[in-house]
Structure formats: structure tokens, C-alpha cells
């Protein structure tokens, strides 16, 4: 009985919490599994918000500050939901020297987006990636997971304009 009252309830009746629960169970609720658990949250929900951190903290018996510390340390864990569509611009060295610095500038000027931003209508997120490991294709853009490489700066701008128009 006592055990049950101590067990924290899921933050909502969203079924996806079960996936998170399974991930923690698999590692026997060990504190070591914190990063794996946050991966599960991120994969299930697309982001790690405060209610998720509170839940994980209670379940793994870790201070909330530790969970927050880890979640904010790693680039992969996002605190806010991403937009419907995502444009990742590789800002790694190979892509930087081949003109992606100008694309970052272009997105700022044309759409008012800095790396990490999402448009107010929640349609488009812009992510600055740290080298996606396809440097031979530099400069690399990723439109919703689809890699496009080896374009000139003007071609990239053109492609982004077209894509934004098509998707909105």
C-alpha cells in the first residue's frame, strides 16, 4: 500500500508516459539511466518539459535539480516543442567555410529566425547542427530529415524559399 502512494502518478493520461516508464523499468530505476530516460521522453514527446523532469526525478529518486542539470546540459534535449517542419543548417567547419554562415545570416534577415528558434505560428523550426557527419557533401542543409548538399549559397537560398512556400 505504502509503495503505491509513493509511486508518482503519470503527469497526464497520455499513453506515451508508458514508454517512458518502460525505459526506466528496463534499467531497474537506476540513477545511471537518467540520460536513457530523457532520450525516451524526447523520443516520445519531442521535448522534455518541466512536468516530464518532475516525473523522472520522482521516479528515479533523484533531486529535480540533477534532472534539470542533465536535461539542460545536452544539446539533444529540447525544452520546447519543435515546429511542424524543421530546417537544420549544418554549422560544422566544412559547411561553414562553404557558405552556411551566410545561410544562418539569411534566415535571420529574411525570417527573423536565430538557431533554435521556431516561428510564432509553430510551423517552422530552425536548428543549427554541429556537423552531421556528411562533410563530403558540404554545405549541408536538412529539410525535415532529408539531406541536401553541394549547393551554392544562392541555390540554397532559392531552395529554402521554395520549401518554406510549399510547406506553409
Amino acid at each position: 500500500m505504502i509503495k503505491q502512494t509513493l509511486t508518482p502518478a503519470f503527469p497526464s493520461d497520455d499513453k506515451r508516459w508508458r514508454i517512458v516508464e518502460t525505459a526506466m523499468k528496463r534499467s531497474n530505476y537506476q540513477a545511471d539511466a537518467l540520460i536513457e530516460t530523457l532520450h525516451a521522453v524526447q523520443e516520445a514527446f519531442g521535448f522534455v518539459d518541466e512536468s516530464a523532469m518532475q516525473f523522472v526525478s520522482a521516479r528515479l529518486n533523484l533531486p529535480a535539480s540533477k534532472v534539470y542539470g542533465v536535461a539542460t546540459f545536452y544539446n539533444l534535449f529540447q525544452m520546447k516543442p519543435a515546429g511542424e517542419h524543421t530546417l537544420s543548417v549544418c554549422t560544422g567547419t566544412a559547411c561553414h567555410v562553404k557558405g552556411n554562415d551566410q545561410i544562418v545570416e539569411f534566415l535571420r534577415e529574411e525570417y527573423g529566425l536565430n538557431p533554435g528558434d521556431t516561428t510564432p505560428d509553430g510551423k517552422l523550426s530552425f536548428i543549427g547542427a554541429r556537423c552531421v557527419g556528411a562533410c563530403g557533401l558540404a554545405p549541408v542543409l536538412i529539410f525535415d530529415g532529408k539531406i541536401v548538399g553541394k549547393l551554392s549559397v544562392d541555390e540554397m537560398k532559392q531552395k529554402i524559399r521554395e520549401w518554406v512556400n510549399d510547406e506553409s
Binding site: I35, V70, F73, Y74, V97, R130, A134
Partner: protein, 477 residues
Amino acid sequence: MMTKSVTTSNLAALQMKYFHQFQQRRIHVQHFTFWGELRPQHLKETRVILQHSGMIDPREIQEYLAVGGYSALAKALAEMSPESVIDEVLRAGLRGRGGAGFPTAKKWQFTRNSPGLPRYLVCNGNEGDPGAYMNRLLLETNPHSVIEGMAIAAYAIGAERGLIYCRSEYPSTIQTMETAIEQAYQLGLLGKNILGSDFTYEMDLARGAGAFVCGEEGALMESIMGRRGEPRVRPPFPSIRGLWAKPTNINNVETLANVPHIILHGAEWYAGIGMENCSGTKTFVVIGDVEKPGIIEVAFGTTLREVIYDICGGIKGGKQLKAIQIDGPMGGCLPSAYLDMPISYDSMQAVGSLLGAGGILVLDEDTCMVDLARYFMEFTQGESCGKCNPCRNGTTHMLEILTRICHGQGRLEDLDMLEWIGEYLPQVSFCGMGQAAPEPVLSAMKFFRDEFEAHAVEHVCPVHHCRMPIHAMAAAA
């Protein structure tokens, strides 16, 4: 799939059987070359660890067996003691490919002799350098060579459990590795009583979550244990006190991939490749202004000129070479005068930088060195873990100054300030990241001082890369 465990006695027969199957489907070779990234071998290349990449299907363990895979593990288990494995690697002269070139056999020896059980083996596949994907390519084109290398290393140091830490930005690498580990378990090449011996080795994969500093060995262990990836105090070295306070041996992906070749062909063969004190080959990713960017594998001692002009086709568009930047965001740059320098850990150290993990950035005459220095500092500042003050604030301060200079708001004193912080950081930073952070800036300032002065004092960018404010341009004109 019907599976039967592989043992030392049936290994050769299985390899033969799969080789026949393999020969029949060689037509599809190009299919596995990782987005066409891996070119056919150039005459000046020496391929050891990449020799099967692109030829075999990384998703099928049979293909690795077909090219003689796991023979080295079988040989080590059947014919060699752990000590003689270490001795073989020592005589081969294998040095750590993670950046520092630390002798691998010595590290294994330290871990083996360290009190405390169990011991752990960790393969460092964090590969965070932007503009480099050597480890990724190897893991995705020949995952079993790394698994086999790890199993032999585990046997040598007496570890029963190993982990490979993969960068989360490479989901396809994680998938390939997971499949490979599963298949190796199915054939009894991992797990209990491997190849019918009494050696047991369990292996897992740990995922990163996007942090460059997690490539540092202390931070790597913290991350595996579910914590913030902040480096640890050294000593104690991981070999004394590592994961869960037990002796832990950490090696780079490429280091471990060399091991099966050493065991199979012998230390003398391996020591004959490359240079004295720096044997074997190294993979490099050459990026920037070359005709043919991409991944190459060359013996140590090959010169930068051969790499850039022969293997990679020279500077794009017939332009002039300006500088070569080695080892990513924390490496130094060299002007073209160093083209004939043979590549090795020691030669790089002699010119004041490190060979690093294998990124070579080639820059032509149109490159702005100040902006490049700013770019690297932006990376380091963003990735600084924040544990220690000098690195956290020093990189921030250096970035502020460089940004100011690139915007035409610099002053001459700024250059002195950059040098001052740059000399200070290596002495007081907690880990290698802060220690090496100023290197791109300092080396660029050393060789291209006039360009920094043009930016900071005259407020002009000699190659017209940086966008200076109009009034600054007018004042300079």
C-alpha cells in the same frame, strides 16, 4: 535466421562458405560506400582499417566473416595469453588515435595491473569535431572490425564488460552498431564462452546526447553514468578509477579497429607501416577548398603535400593554398610552408599543435583567418562545459573580442588581450578543451598577424569576407 555458435574449429569453414556467397554478389559493391563518400583507393593511400569498407555489407555479419573476420579474435583466444596480446600491440607501436597518441599497450597494461574488479572497456565514439566523420564511416561500413578489436582488448586487459559510446547525432551509426552487436551475440562471438573458450565478454552501446566535451575521457564516463558530462580530475586516471570507480580502459574507435590487424598479421608487419615511433595508418577527413574532399587513409609519414595535392586533387579552382588547419576547433593552423612536413604525432607536436582525431581543413587564398578564428571560438565557447571558470569565461571573452574585431570595432589592444588570455588558458583550464581552446586563434595570429591588424586597426577585411560597417570602410579608404 538459423544460427549456430561459431567455435575456433568451425570458424574457417564458415568463413569459406560465406566467402563463396560473397563472391557471387560483388556486383553491388558501391552500395555500401556510405553515400559514395569512400573513393577507390589512391596510389598514395595505405588502407588497413578501411580495406574492407564499402566492399562488405555492414548489416550482415556473414560478410565480415567472408573476408576473414573474427580470425584475429580466434587466434588471440586460442594461441595467445592476455600478456602476449599486450606485448604484440606494444611491439607494433600502436598509439591512441583519439588525439593524444598515447601508447595503447601501456594503457592496457595499466588497466590490467590495476587492482579492483570488474574492469571495464570503453570505446570512445563521440567524435564531436565538426568537419570530421572518420569514426562514423568506419562504424557504419565495418562495425564488426571495432567489435572484434574491443573483444581482443577486453581479453588483454581482463575486462568482462565493454561499452561503445556513440554520438547521438549519428542515428544510423547507432542502428548499424546495434544490429552488429546483436548478430555477434547470435553467433556466440560475444557473450559467454566466446568461440568455445572460457572467455566471457558482454557488450553494450551507450548513447550520447549531443555534447562535444563528452569525448573527453572523464566527461565520457560521467555521461555513461547518466550525469552531466563534466571532466574529472586526473589522476586518478581511468585505468585506476573509472566507471563505477573500477579500472576502466578508454580507447578511440580507430585505435581498436587496428587491433585485429596487428594480432592477425603480427607486430613486425604493423611496425613496418608508417614511421618509427609512429607506426600504422591514420584516417583523415579532408575538407575545405580541395578538388576532392573526403576520407582517406594514409600511412604515417605521408606529407601534407601528398595528401592535399596528390590524393585530394589540389586546391579547388587552381587557387593558392593559404593555410591548413588540423584537429578541428581546438587545433592549430599551419601556413603553406609546412606542406612537406610528414604527418605524425611527434611532427605535429614539434610545431606546437596536436595531430588530433583526423580533421584536415584546407583553406585557399580567399579565406579570412580572423573570421575562421572567431568561428572556432564560437564553437568552443558553446561547447565549454562550464565546470571551470577559466575556460567558461576565457572562451566567452575571446569570442567577444573576435566578434568585435570582425565587426570593425576592434582596437590594437584587443590583439594583446587575445594573446594574454590565450597564454593563460592552457595553464589553468581543467581539461584539454580549455587548454587547447586558444590554439586556432594563437596560431592564426602567429602566422597571419597582418590580417588581424588590418581588421582590428584599419577595420578592413583584406579578403572581403567580414562585413565591416560602411563608416569604417570609408575611414580606411
